[in-house]
Structures are given as C-alpha cells and as structure tokens.
C-alpha cells in the first residue's frame, strides 16, 4: 500500500477547484499568523462563501520551538523550566506535571505542605488564566473594556504570587521534590484579601459581559460541540465539560489535595460557546472555594523533601503523568533509559487536542462566530506547537 503525502498548497488547489453555484465564488483567506484574534500565531486557512466558513484548515508550526527535542538533551530539573514557556498561562501546573512525573518515577513522596501549596497555587493560577481569557473573549467579541478589567484583576493576583515566587509569568515554582521557595509569610493573608476583593468583581464580570444581551446572542447556539464529537476529537478541560461530560482529573483521578476539598465541577448542557463561557466563569468561583478551604490548613513542614540534584536519574521505563491545567489535561510522557536526561519527553498538550474541535464547531457559520467559538476554546498557541 502506498502512502501519499500531500502539501498545503495541493490541498488548497484541490479544494478551490470545486466551486458552488455559478454566480458566487468561493475563496480562500488566510487568518493569521499575524491576526489580532488568533491569540498568537495560529494560522487558519479559511474557505469562505461570502462570510460563511466552508472549511477551516489550521496550519501550525509558527511557534514550533522543538521543546521536545531540546528536552532530550536536558536533565530533568532543567526540563521543568521549559514547560513554563509552553502554556505560559498555567505555568505552575505545567511545572507540576513534570515534577509529578519525575516524582512518581523516582519514587519520591512529597509531604503534605508541598501538596497543599501546590494545589493552592495551581488554583490561583487557574483563576488568573481564566481572568485573562475572560478579558480576551470580550475583546474578541468587540468589547475592549472587559479586557482591561480582566488584566486589572490579574495584576492584583499577580502581586500576591510574585511576592512568593518572584516572577510574573514564567513562574518555575514547582520542582521535582518540592518547591522553589517557601511561601511568603504574608501569603495567606494576602490571598484572603484577594478573595475578598475578587468575589464582588466576579459579579461585576457578570454585569459587564455575562448578562449582556449581545454577548448572549453572540455565544448562544454558536459553535455547538456535541459530547460525542468532543470525546472523539480529544477535547478535555472546560471544552469537554462545556459539552456536558463531567470529566475532571481533579475529581476523577485526584492528585495534590483535591481529594480533601469540596468543590463542584461545572458542566454545560448544550455544548455551545455559551456553555464553555459559563463553565469557565463558574470554575473561577469553584477555584476560589478550593483556595479558601485550603488556606487555613497549610500544615507545617519543609518545602523540599529530596535533595535537588540536576543529575537525577530515573529507572528505565515509561512514565506518564497528567493533571488538569486551566485548559484541559496536560500529559507528560517520559521514556527513561537510566540516564540523567530523558530518552524521550512528550507533552500531551490540551490545546493541541482542543484545537481540532474548531472545524466541526463552526462549519457553515459566519466568520464572526468563528472568532467567538475560537475564543471560547481558549487556545494558547505556543502550547499547541511546543
């Protein structure tokens, strides 16, 4: 059996040969790599009939930095810092995923304090990520002000985290075997202040966007993704939950201290952009709940349990660990050959799998719906390309 390898050019030429009715002309448009609402450098080749999207071919690789290849030449401690640059909006969760894989492989058991702090930071970062997403969604739908409100509240949270971590975006806080530094003495109080500050702000978000008629018109019944399609196309995270599948690693395969806290997993019903929007806004509330429960109970202890050693070697084998980032399941696949560098390190990035839901979602809809639907997927392109 021969295998045919095609190219994008051939694909476009092939597709442009088939035209619809004689009086309309279908045409191709490049959306990206530099486009304000592709959130970076995603390129979509759109086949349009007027404003209707007939085909949507994502073209990737404009930020493919070969992280997996670089990781093969790095020790496990260094691999962690590259993950910051993948999904930079959930960097702590990315760090944690690698740390978790290495810890499980090396048989390191971290203490409760580390688990508590990791969980708190992961939830804070989930809030932070959703704040930014909320603002950007508003901007994509043409309202500029929500974007600045989102950024405003993000900065408040950033301050809290910066006090402990020292970085604003690429946190690099979680290491295999513990944490980079202990939490700041002020941390607990400041997080409490933040929660007090942010609860009313969430209602303000509702006033500005959620209850806005135009937003509802723009999101409801747009980009409908059935549960079956979502599962088939490998969607995870809020995209999958928006479609009505209550699958959350935090509940189903608890890690950290998620098994000790009480929270709900918001689930959509229809699977349209509105459901995904609602799921994320609700997730912010749940994250606040989780943080509140954990904050007062951080047990004493060390923030490092194992000697930090850049020459750490894992026993031979395949290790997979995954956790729920703000966008879905991040999986880390480590193949070790007893050296201090991974033989193969693969990241299952949530955005990569979520992206493919785009075409079934918006086929035959307007460009404007495409923007809204894409925004509701909350893509981070460097995470797709790695």
């Amino acid at each position: 059996m021969t295998v045919e390898v095609s190219s994008l050019k051939e694909l476009v030429e092939q597709a442009s040969g088939t035209s619809g009715s004689p009086d309309t002309q279908e045409y191709f448009v490049n959306m990206g790599p530099q486009h304000p609402s592709t959130h970076g450098v995603l390129r979509l080749v759109l086949k349009l009939d007027g404003e209707r999207v007939l085909r949507c071919i994502p073209v990737l690789g404009y930020i493919h930095r070969s992280i997996e290849k670089i990781s093969e030449h790095m020790n496990y401690m260094n691999c962690v810092h590259l993950t910051d640059r993948m999904d930079y909006l959930s960097s702590i969760m990315n760090n944690w995923a690698v740390a978790k894989a290495v810890e499980e492989a090396a048989g390191i058991e971290v203490n409760d304090r580390i688990r508590y702090i990791r969980t708190i930071f992961a939830e804070l970062e989930r809030i932070q990520s959703h704040q930014l997403w909320w603002g950007v969604l508003g901007m994509d739908l043409g309202a500029f002000t929500p974007f600045l409100y989102g950024i405003r509240d993000r900065e408040v949270l950033n301050d809290v985290m910066e006090e402990t971590i020292g970085a604003r975006l690429t946190m690099n806080y979680v290491l295999p075997g513990g944490l980079m530094a202990d939490i700041h003495p002020n941390f607990v109080n400041r997080v409490k202040e933040f929660i007090k500050y942010f609860r009313p702000k969430l209602d303000e978000y509702d006033d500005l966007l959620t209850n806005n008629v135009i937003i509802q018109e723009r999101l409801r019944n747009v980009g409908v993704l059935s549960a079956q399609t979502a599962v088939q196309y490998g969607a995870t995270g809020p995209v999958l939950r928006g479609s009505g599948v209550a699958f959350d690693l935090r509940k189903d395969h608890p890690y950290g201290v998620y098994d000790q806290v009480d929270f709900e997993v918001p689930v959509g019903t229809v699977g349209d952009s509105w459901d995904r929007y609602w799921v994320r806004v609700e997730e912010m509330r749940q994250s606040l709940r989780i943080v509140e429960q954990l904050l007062d109970n951080i047990p004493p202890g060390d923030f490092l349990v194992k000697k930090l050693n850049s020459k750490i070697k894992l026993p031979e084998g395949r290790y997979y660990s995954q956790l729920e980032t703000a966008r879905g399941i991040l999986g880390v696949f480590i193949t070790s050959d007893k050296k201090d560098e991974p033989y193969r390190l693969h990241y299952r990035s949530p955005n990569f799998n979520n992206l493919w839901c785009l075409e079934p979602m918006i086929k035959g809809d307007y460009i404007a719906s495409l923007i809204g639907a894409m925004s509701s997927l909350d893509l981070v392109i460097p995470d797709i390309d790695r």
Binding site: K69, V231, G234, E316, G331
Partner: protein, 155 residues
C-alpha cells in the same frame, strides 16, 4: 479494574496481544501493526473496556533496536482506566495503518508523529507535515537527525 487485571484482560482479547516487557506505570500491551485498528476498535466498542478517548499518541525512536515504538494512550470515561497500546515498527520502513477512522483526533496526532518521526500512516486522509514546512528535509525527532542549523550545547 486495577492495572494488572486490565492488562491481563486486554491480553485475552486476542492472541496477538502481549504485555509490554519494559517497565511502565500503567497497563501496557504490545500489538502487531496490521492488527492495530481491529484491536483498537474492539477496545473502544466492547463495554468491558470502552476506551472512548485517544488521549495521546507518542512515538519513541529506539535507534539501538532499529524500531519505532508508537504508543497509543487510551482512556475510558466509563471505567476510568488508562491503557498504553504499543506498536513496534521497523525504522527502515515505518508503516502503520491509521486509526483516525476510530478516533478522529488521531488524524492530527498521527500527522504530528509523521512530521517529527516520518512514520507513514496507511490510508490516512490527509497526511501532511504539521509543524514544519512542507519542503522540510528529514524528521527532526529521530535520534540520528542531523542539521547544519542545530547547535550542540557546549559542555
């Protein structure tokens, strides 16, 4: 179902399935390339397993053995269990039937593996490079990939 039971149950499915010899942190089986789609279909459809989602597809270049290992990582929402399905293909002529009829997401995961490893997927509807330009020469994640552009880290 815990790890060992699941692995044993999957192995009973077909005589060509055998457990993975190397160490893995979850149930892992090895199947023949030709039998892959049929086995994955059974794994997906039989209620005992119902692996509804293909979480991940990874390739590993075992250059010493002259083989590529293709790992399909399955997950079942119903039973909440994971499974590695490995396929070993020769490095010289890496071919494997596509599974994107079963799991649509495989279309792109397989394209990624083709792009970076050069594994050819038979009957794939749209086999193109995913990350690199269409005229890129070589498959960069292979262990023997050489490139004038790449720099080695000074030791």
């Amino acid at each position: 179902m815990d790890r060992e039971t699941l692995q044993a149950a999957v192995c009973q499915l077909d005589s060509s399935i055998r457990p993975l010899e190397e160490n893995a942190d979850r149930a892992a089986v090895v199947v023949e390339a030709a039998a892959l789609p049929a086995i994955l279909r059974r794994l997906r459809d039989e209620p005992e397993f119902s692996f509804a989602q293909l979480l991940d597809h990874v390739a590993v270049d075992w250059i010493d053995r002259g083989q590529f290992e293709l790992v399909y990582h399955l997950y079942s929402f119903k039973h909440k269990h994971f499974l590695f399905v490995s396929v070993f293909v020769p490095r010289e002529d890496p071919r494997v039937p596509t599974v994107c009829r079963l799991y649509p997401v495989a279309e792109w995961q397989e394209r990624e593996v083709y792009d970076l490893f050069g594994v050819l997927y038979e009957d794939h509807p749209d086999l193109r490079r995913l990350f690199l330009e269409d005229d890129w020469i070589g498959f960069p994640l292979r262990k023997d990939y050489q490139d004038d552009f790449m720099l080695d880290r000074p030791r």
